[in-house]
């Protein structure tokens, strides 16, 4: 139909004008017809993208009035309670945004809530990619870019949190300085360089401001664009289903259906963030008061995405600290402050390559895994989530202690144990659940699904009638990949001439074989299982033959 309908003459003129110069029609048509697979979990990254756009827009608004200066002024703005109080210009100008700029308070709260949602969306998006194996070839580079975005966003958030120079800001910067000071040899120099002298000095807000509004967002934006272009080029992964192969994407075309959905989704994201900002008070800097180096308060935490670091600092024992020639080496700050932070980025960053090394799988994967079909990976993911979660909870141990009336020291000991035991238990439990689900899948594939209908056979026996799965379900269940490893192949140890491969005798070769065994040993095979070949199906036939029941 669209081929026979001509565009209005006026549009055609403009269209031809542009097309003659930029040749957009062909590219445009190709890209507008690009197909996106349909699944809610593929929208998680978009939440992050939309929050980022909201952050950029509101951030620009805030810079119009914010003064990144630590010059001391005496406040005489319209917030009466703090009139006559000496404070930095940064804090005073934030109060100005809150109380003297029309809509300023709302926009500041939108900026803050959007930051929390932005990082939360990044995390759930990363988890989705991890658990579905969407980081596998050809997407390893995009996975690394994603981790870089995650890391930079955390730092971006921390710096933004520090800018208003209110009480929690200053405390956060103080902890940052503490972690910097813990660096062996260079710590004091880096600290003096960053702060332009002793803490807090007069430069830090100005410097953090430059990083927060210029340097880091520019890099973030570049990385996000790269992330998106690579996604566009490589196409989105999809879950198994009818017609979905490594070469064919099934989904909605970019224009109009997907564009409308995505556009609507932007407005929904904006609505939720704006709704939260309108009704739920966040980071009330006017109540906290300005930061002074003597001020300190309990009951304050960093924003949630720094909580795991706070937690690891809180529960790490200081018994490992030592001194070298009178210079302290504070392990209790170094390991939790930098080590744990490093683990959060290095472990997920290395995993695609480790997995590839273990399995020897160099194939291109465009169909995502169902998490249950990669039980070891899923178990490791949940173990990581558990470790992160325990540290995160530990970061709020004083609030937990007060809210639930638990001894504060007891929570520390509980978390110290949980941070090691929790991931192990989580791994075992998750892997068992995955294998259980695999078994159920095999059952469903073989017998059809339980219909809930109980039938009595002429012999008096009761059976539950199983019904045929839909084509889609059968397709999904049959798509279960076989997890194997080239390290375990029969000819892995010898080459085609029958000569033993020296690599496999060395330590790394042995390690690889051991890991491959561990990675692949527990799997429910669907080899030889034919769809709907099981006994129960016969009962759904009206005759219901007794001898096939079991």
């Amino acid at each position: 139909m669209s081929k026979t309908t001509q565009a209005p003459k006026a549009l055609r003129g403009v269209g031809n004008f542009i097309d003659d110069r930029f040749h957009l029609a062909k590219t445009g048509e190709k890209n507008l017809r690009k197909v996106f697979p349909n699944h809610w979990s593929f929208m998680l990254g978009e939440i992050a993208l939309y929050s980022f756009i909201i952050l950029l827009v509101t951030g620009v608004f805030l810079t119009l009035w914010f003064k990144p200066s630590m010059l001391e002024v005496v406040y005489d703005g319209s917030y009466e309670r703090l009139q006559g109080v000496p404070m930095s210009e940064a804090y005073a100008s934030t109060l100005f945004i809150d109380f003297d700029v029309r809509g300023g308070f709302l926009v500041r709260q939108i900026h803050h809530w959007a930051a929390l949602i932005f990082l939360a969306a990044i995390v759930v998006h990363m988890l989705r990619v991890f658990f579905t194996g969407a980081f596998r070839k050809p997407r390893e580079i995009n996975w690394l870019i994603g981790i870089a975005i995650f890391a930079l966003s955390i730092i971006e958030g921390l710096f933004g949190y520090s800018l208003p120079d209110d009480l929690p800001s200053g405390m956060g910067v103080r902890i940052l300085q503490g972690v910097i000071l813990a660096l062996p040899l260079v710590g004091t120099y880096v600290s003096m360089f960053l702060f332009g002298g002793e803490f807090p000095g007069e430069d830090i807000i100005t410097r953090l401001y430059m990083l927060h509004v210029l340097a880091i967002p520019a890099v973030l934006l570049a990385l996000i664009v790269a992330h998106f272009m690579i996604l566009w080029h490589q196409k989105h992964t999809q879950y198994p289903g009818i017609g979905r192969t490594e070469k064919t994407v099934v989904g909605t075309p970019m224009f109009p259906a997907f564009a409308v959905k995505a556009g609507g989704f932007f407005f929904f994201t904006f609505a939720v963030i704006a709704g939260l900002s309108a009704f739920v008070q966040i980071n009330p800097i006017h109540l906290f008061g300005p930061f002074t180096p003597t001020s300190i308060t309990s009951g304050l935490q960093p924003d949630w995405y720094m909580g795991f670091l706070e937690g690891s600092l809180r529960i790490f024992p200081n018994t490992f600290d030592f001194s070298v020639f009178g210079y302290a080496v504070p392990i209790a700050v170094l390991v939790p402050g930098l080590g744990v932070m490093g683990m959060l980025f290095v472990l997920p960053g290395a995993w695609p390559f480790v997995e590839q090394w273990i399995t020897g799988d160099k194939r291109v994967h465009n169909v995502a895994d169902r998490p249950r079909n990669a039980p070891v990976r899923t178990g490791l993911g949940v173990a990581g989530m558990t470790a992160y979660g325990v540290l995160w909870l530990a970061g709020s141990n004083d609030i937990l202690s007060e809210t639930f009336s638990i001894d504060l020291y007891l929570t520390t000991y509980i978390f110290r144990v949980l941070v090691f035991v929790g991931p192990v238990v989580a791994f075992i439990v998750t892997k068992r659940i995955c294998l259980g689900l695999q078994r159920r899948d095999r059952d469903t594939l073989e017998h059809g699904y339980e219909s809930g209908t109980i039938r009595q056979l002429p012999s008096g026996e009761f059976i539950e009638v199983h019904k045929r799965n839909s084509e889609e379900t059968t397709e999904v269940l049959e798509s279960k990949p076989l997890i194997g490893s080239t390290a375990l192949a029969d000819d892995a140890d010898v080459d085609d001439k029958g000569v033993e491969n020296p690599e496999s005798r060395k330590g790394m070769g042995k390690l690889r074989r051991a890991l491959a065994h561990w990675y692949t040993k527990d799997n429910v095979s669907i080899d030889g299982v034919e769809a709907h070949s099981g006994h129960h199906l016969h009962h759904s036939a009206p005759e219901g033959e007794k001898e096939s029941a079991h």
Partner: protein, 312 residues
């Protein structure tokens, strides 16, 4: 039952059961949970008996009945052979401010000497307390030791139950309000009050006065229910794990600024929205960000990508 049987395999049935179970536990808990920790300040500003009204003999009766079992009849406390407190400490040097603080906040008489007492409604009448303090001053106190009750600092709002009729109560409330307001507004220097509070108090009671966890299972209580006089008394007597801030360390004028700062902050409306998350801060914000913010957006994603489910 047939109605349920027909629907128990509905796709939403599981969610309905979970919601019903949660509702049952929630409502059940709300019905059964004790509400006693709703501490109500019950002392009377307008009804403070003047020193002429007190009856020292009555005070002795109160002391012997409610205090002496732990603190001994002469207030010398109960100690074991090594000198550790067994039930109650020596009261002879603590001063009347400590007595007034502990009794008016309901912490004394204590049910369990071995654990930290929460704030409770006062166990005796205002008159009994006045008699008790008079008896303490006359018979138990070591000379002039300890701090005096700061009578010039306003106490808690009058309690309706202590007045015979509405008019007397309203008059008392009005008098209390003007006394309270003039005290709070009498402090001028927010900066001084804020610095004193954030330097000396906030690391236990938190920036908002909401309290916080301490070591060894103790906690710093919320100070929102405390009257200015009780805050003053806590500073000069140092109850429990709290250090003592004598009038030499923090002058009465500074205490005035400090108390005014806390009370003004407490009364400050939440400009950022109707839900203040109890001023818990980042932990509550992160929690809401995940379970409300992100959850709603993800629910929307599920909604807009949902397709008609082929029954399988």
């Amino acid at each position: 039952m047939k109605w349920i049987t027909a629907r128990r395999r509905h796709p939403l049935a599981g969610y309905v059961v979970v919601i019903l179970a949660l509702a049952l536990f929630g409502v059940g808990y709300a019905a059964l949970a004790p509400t006693a920790d709703q501490a109500q300040a019950q002392t009377l500003a307008a009804d403070v008996p003047s020193p002429d009204d007190v009856d020292i003999a009555e005070g002795k009766t109160v002391f012997d009945q409610t205090c002496a079992s732990c603190h001994n009849y002469d207030g010398s406390g109960s100690y074991d052979a090594e000198g550790n407190v067994t039930n109650g400490p020596d009261l002879r040097d603590v001063g009347p401010a400590a007595i007034d603080f502990q009794v008016s906040t309901g912490r004394m008489p204590s049910m369990d000497p071995s654990s930290q007492m929460p704030r409770k409604p006062m166990a005796m009448s205002e008159q009994d307390l006045a008699n008790l303090i008079a008896y303490y001053n006359a018979e138990i106190r070591n000379g002039e030791s300890g701090a005096e009750v700061p009578y010039e600092v306003p106490d808690s709002e009058p309690n309706r139950a202590d007045f015979e009729d509405e008019t007397a109560y309203e008059a008392a409330v009005e008098e209390w309000e003007s006394e309270y307001d003039s005290y709070i507004e009498g402090a001028e220097d927010t900066d001084m009050g804020m610095k004193l509070y954030l330097t000396n108090c906030a690391h236990c009671h938190s920036w908002s006065g909401g309290g916080g966890a301490l070591t060894d299972g103790r906690w710093a209580p919320e100070i929102h229910d405390a009257s200015p006089r009780e805050i003053y008394e806590a500073m000069v007597s140092g109850p429990g794990a709290m250090p003592m801030f004598s009038d030499g360390a923090i002058t009465p004028e500074e205490k005035h600024e400090l108390i005014s700062y806390v009370k003004t902050l407490q009364a400050e409306p939440n400009a950022g929205g109707v839900f203040d998350l109890q001023r818990i801060g980042q932990v509550a914000e992160g929690f809401i960000g995940w379970v409300v913010g992100l959850a709603l957006i993800v629910a929307c994603a599920i909604w807009i990508t949902a397709k008609q489910r082929a029954h399988d």
